[in-house]
Symmetry: C2
Subunit: 380 residues, 2 copies
Amino acid sequence: MEKDFYGDLRLGILGGGQLGRMLIQEAINLNISVSVLDPDRDAPCKKLCDRFEAGSLIDFDTVYKFGKQVDMLTIEIEKVNVDALEKLEEEGVVVFPQARVIRLIQDKGLQKQFFKQNDIPTAPFQLISSKDALKDLTIPFPYIQKLRKDGYDGKGVHKIADEADLANAFEAPSLIEQWVAFEKEIAVIVARNDKGDVSTFPMVEMEFNAEVNLVEFLISPSILPFEIQERAEQLAIKIAEDLQIVGLLAVEMFLTPDGNILVNELAPRPHNSGHHTIEGNYTSQFAQHLRAIFNLPLGNTAARSNAVMINLLGEANYEGLAIYEGLEEVLAEEGVYIHLYGKKFTKPFRKMGHVTIVNEDREKAVTLARKVQATIKVKA
Amino acid sequence: MEKDFYGDLRLGILGGGQLGRMLIQEAINLNISVSVLDPDRDAPCKKLCDRFEAGSLIDFDTVYKFGKQVDMLTIEIEKVNVDALEKLEEEGVVVFPQARVIRLIQDKGLQKQFFKQNDIPTAPFQLISSKDALKDLTIPFPYIQKLRKDGYDGKGVHKIADEADLANAFEAPSLIEQWVAFEKEIAVIVARNDKGDVSTFPMVEMEFNAEVNLVEFLISPSILPFEIQERAEQLAIKIAEDLQIVGLLAVEMFLTPDGNILVNELAPRPHNSGHHTIEGNYTSQFAQHLRAIFNLPLGNTAARSNAVMINLLGEANYEGLAIYEGLEEVLAEEGVYIHLYGKKFTKPFRKMGHVTIVNEDREKAVTLARKVQATIKVKA
């Protein structure tokens, strides 16, 4: 690419949510000119980018036309029109992550087939095209049904425990996965630039809110045995290299009670499991994504201290203009970093922000995180 | 104030330069709605704020009208119309720092009188209203002549060494200061909120570029004797309390060879001597300024590690569209944080950005800072 990243080069981001917002906060430091496409006129990125366009991310023409106005495209959400991206790539727009990578990851079925083809450990699965096929499954109850496409933030995922649950099954092309009794959910974010440099962030441990299937609590760095961390990080590197991705790749994994690591899902972009890196690591995931797509040297990913991240979700039963309770109380604590996402309206379990707690003492960080979680409430 | 800082409250910033830009980067985390007034249509804040208005900061009507559209005003530059701010205060707009504080600090003569009245140690001085009065000075050569108003970034300051230099003296109301043979230039940033909570950042040491009278190199935290650091921090607290300021106050001081601390100048806002706090301290000066003006608990100011900050100044002899040499080379080093200010055009010694280097080892941070300084060049 001829243009300097800090100069005339125009970066387009597909999606204008909180991931785009935090990416822009980092892009400001490098004078990067950012255009954003998002269907929501009040998207979190709206007022922070050089140019904002309200429009569909899945409409071919909209994405194509948006892409023709920039030099490089990246994403903050996978659900985008990949045909448009492929055409843009053919016409010389740099698309990182590459259209073929997004196409593969968009479809949980293709993702699983990719794991299988590349000897990447993952839970046993079958692909079905309709609900009807559930009766012929070889995978026993309980299992997970995931829509192949368009699931996000816990939506499009069902646990099917028995015959009775079949009534609730999705009537759409799905991935059926054997239920894994995992001990821990772990994640590694890896970055790869176009020179082929690859770098992982230290492995993190997550706790999920089972009710809504969202990450609720994340601890960095992990204190699981070094051997497990290394295995998880090597797996992430292998996947990044097998994909030849340019940009960030978040690799979510299960650690099973017998010490196996099974890859669950990929996200080819900054990810909720990397928000703690803003204050917790020398390089943030957002800075790393920019370094990767601009083919710059990758930054030092080491942890600066223990960091615990909690998501701020809209309280159940509240919908409307967001009110944040407890912010002042939380700001009185040391090492607490509040990130609100600029969403005017809350609804139950909507991701409204996150808080990172850093502390030299891991237990103190965890205790404080629990307190923050109990203190801040997003109501309406 | 009735409105929540993350909600309907509108914050106005007078000035849209790099200090406003970094303040906005932090304000994003708290959903703060920011309006900016700056005479330059391409000011660094232009594309990052909710509302940008191009207009004079020293014109009464422009500042007044801008202020009437917000709930709270703050500044990132002192040279603003204070009469308008006083009227806005009377009419219920919250102005932090207060108009009277800005008025006092705008005028280096009033600043010095304030030091004298409050027993704050400072170099001996005289105030003169015209060049003519220089012949009747009781202060011996060499001395410093500073314009009482509107000096900035080393402009409006002359050293007058002898009779021959008198020809170059400013013909305007000035402050004449006895030349201080100082050993170190040191600075402390202090914050005070409306509850009266006061908190200082650890003292830093600076190195100046004598040619252009700009901070070129800053080291945090200081390793001067604890007693000196404590004295400097206590002085900063005393000044903040004497002024009853709400917001940040940067206190620049000289440490003399015999161990005295003399207060040089004040800035009632985020300051170049606090840029390292973004990565070097638990709370950044920008986050702290927001906490102070919104009357929130002040954050932990402790250093997270050694940090060295260098300014990126436009190279001498280059003027035009800015080109940054050496960025990639510098990004290959660990713990290096580049901040470009979004200024399209460079000119000799213009502040175009800064770089902070953090390292557990102070000497390594200093060595790397020297390397960064020799590597990055802002040309045209």
